[in-house]
């Protein structure tokens, strides 16, 4: 409980930074104006540009962190992340095809296609989890699905008629929450809420999987349904995250590891802290993307990989001792 409170405070602080920092620096009087005078320029910068952007980063980071924690529990594998079963890749494929076909101008088309790709992958995976009980075969299938979707995305590049569309797809694949407003966030609310609820429901099953599939099968819990709920929840969250921000790596892998030692490695108690740490991480990563003075604003996926990889290596080094056995 103390951990949850601390992580909420950290997320709050990150969101505050997300509001305060940006390309335009605001003076104290402008800040006062932003909080007191609706529709003034500083008010619009804060509440129409920075706030939706920071909140989007928090939602995406939270979804990826939770989805990563569920995947790690489901597959009993500390290296699992939201992408391991191919859900991110199929979501990215959906979005890429839509952009390449020139349908990106239609409101919500890219986001809808990304979510549809993820849901499709989730349905296939749910059927498979019912058939394959051991995590290894599921991972192998996920790798195949991921490779297939990656190849199809490469094909989109290959066949794309205009270089403009190609660069648009590429830029989308790098991940970003720039220029998001509240209306972009609204359609993601339902899949995120449903995904989180399914993940929360599967928590007991994830914990039971610690002792392997057979012990879990005899535990008295409805393991078939709980595993399906975990896969569906993780797929919905990943799909919603990709729809909102493109492909953002490392958060789903690293967020659970940042908090793992404080929940004594318990897959069920890991879920909420992973969501919160993922949210805080991504808001901070987005602040970095904004304030690092580069000619072209840094892409969020680039920042998470650049900062996330060394951080993850450090955490793994510390945790390595507890993974043996």
């Amino acid at each position: 409980m103390r951990l949850i409170v601390l992580l909420c405070l950290a997320l709050g602080a990150a969101l505050w930074l997300g509001l305060m920092l940006g390309e335009t620096s605001l003076t104290v009087s402008q800040l006062v104006e932003a909080f007191t005078r609706p529709d003034s320029a500083p008010w619009r910068i804060l509440w129409s540009i920075r706030a939706p952007r920071a909140v989007t980063a928090a939602v995406v980071g939270g979804a990826l962190g939770l989805s990563g924690a569920v995947m790690q529990g489901l597959l009993r594998n500390p290296l699992a992340d939201p992408g391991v079963l191919g859900v991110s890749a199929t979501a990215a494929l959906g979005a890429s095809v839509t952009i390449a076909l020139g349908l990106a101008t239609a409101a919500g088309a890219v986001e809808g296609a990304a979510l549809a790709g993820a849901i499709l992958a989730g349905l296939v995976l749910m059927v498979l989890t019912a058939r394959l009980s051991d995590p290894q075969s599921l991972i192998l299938f996920g790798v195949a699905l991921s490779a297939l979707a990656g190849a199809a995305t490469a094909l989109v590049f290959n066949l794309s008629p205009s270089p403009v569309a190609t660069s648009e797809v590429l830029s989308w694949l790098l991940g970003s929450v720039a220029n998001r407003d509240w209306s972009d966030l609204a359609p993601a609310a339902a899949p995120v809420a449903l995904g989180a609820a399914l993940c929360a429901w599967s928590a007991n099953g994830l914990r039971m999987l610690t002792l392997g599939e057979e012990t879990a099968a005899l535990s008295g819990l409805p393991m078939g349904r709980l595993r399906a709920a975990g896969v569906a929840g993780a797929a919905l969250l990943t799909g919603a995250a990709v729809a909102l921000a493109g492909v953002v790596g490392f958060v789903g892998l690293a967020a659970p590891h940042l908090v793992r030692r404080w929940v004594s490695d318990d897959p069920a108690r890991l879920l909420a802290p992973s969501a919160l740490s993922g949210a805080a991480l991504l808001v901070l990563a987005d602040v970095c993307a904004r304030v690092v003075p580069t000619a072209e604003e840094l892409k969020l996926g680039v920042v998470t990989a650049l900062f996330g990889a060394p951080l993850f290596a450090l955490v793994s080094w510390r945790a390595a001792r507890s993974w043996r056995g």
Binding site: G212, T215, S264
Partner: protein, 252 residues
């Protein structure tokens, strides 16, 4: 007393191979039954079939009088608990939380007193807060046995619970299971150590190539002829002040 587990003429085919066939077995409350046999003889498959984990190609299994396939997940868990041979544990949970997995329907914090009592009964109360992956094989085995008995199930099935343990720990694990039997549970274990089986089991069932070769009290069942046919051993169980001891060599 009525049988907690009744297997009638059970057969299992895995990957086109008949792993067990014609197995009939009853286990009653209060007894410890050992399943013996050479490697690949079908011991694990028999235990899995008893739990409904291996699909039968013939015969029937009844748990608590009800066909195992007709039980709900919760109903089956209320009747039987299982310790598989595979002791791999996914995450480094503290021992008491591992034991709490035996009571999945109540929250771990509410299950904690029961888990500590179960750890106490296997002499592992001092391990309660240690991570399971930081333990030796023997310590881990005791914690997993505690997870098995905390369920309170009337049928406890353990696949080689003594494998890989030092002699004292082997006796300790078997004593814990005997204590549960004395309290009324039916216990079915597979074992490789024939001396241990002779000392700790009320009955042994001997499998050879998936068929039942014998079923009866250890000393009367593990005759020189059976040792030769089931284990390719030239030897006998010798009575001693502390129970029977196997003296044997390879049959040439």
């Amino acid at each position: 007393m009525t049988s907690v587990l009744a297997m009638a003429d059970c057969g299992v085919v895995l990957g086109g191979r008949r792993v067990i066939s014609g197995v009939s077995l009853e286990v009653r409350g209060g007894e410890v039954v050992g399943v013996l046999g050479a490697n690949g003889g079908g011991k694990t498959t028999l235990l899995r079939a008893a739990l409904g984990l291996a699909r039968l190609t013939s015969g029937q299994v009844r748990l608590g009088g009800c066909p195992v396939g007709e039980l709900t997940e919760a109903g089956r868990a209320a009747l039987a608990a299982y310790l598989p041979q595979d002791r791999r544990v996914g995450w480094n949970l503290p021992a008491w939380r591992i034991v709490a997995l035996g009571l999945p329907l109540i929250s771990p914090s509410r299950a904690r007193p029961n888990t500590l009592a179960a750890l106490g009964s296997v002499g592992a109360e001092d391990l309660a807060e240690r991570g399971i992956l930081d333990m030796s094989g023997g310590e881990r085995a005791r914690v997993l046995i505690a997870r098995l008995i905390v369920t309170g199930a009337p049928l406890l099935i353990a696949d080689e619970p003594a494998a890989g343990l030092d002699p004292e720990a082997q006796f300790q694990v078997m004593e814990v299971l005997r204590t549960r039997a004395a309290l009324g549970a039916a216990v079915l274990v597979s074992l490789h150590d024939l001396t241990l089986a002779a000392r700790c089991c009320d009955r042994v069932v001997v499998l050879g190539q998936g068929r039942m070769l014998a079923d009866g009290p250890p000393a009367a069942t593990l005759t020189p002829d059976l040792l030769a046919s089931a284990f390719a051993l030239d030897g006998a169980l010798i009575p001693s002040a502390m129970g029977h001891v196997l003296a044997a060599r390879r049959l040439r």
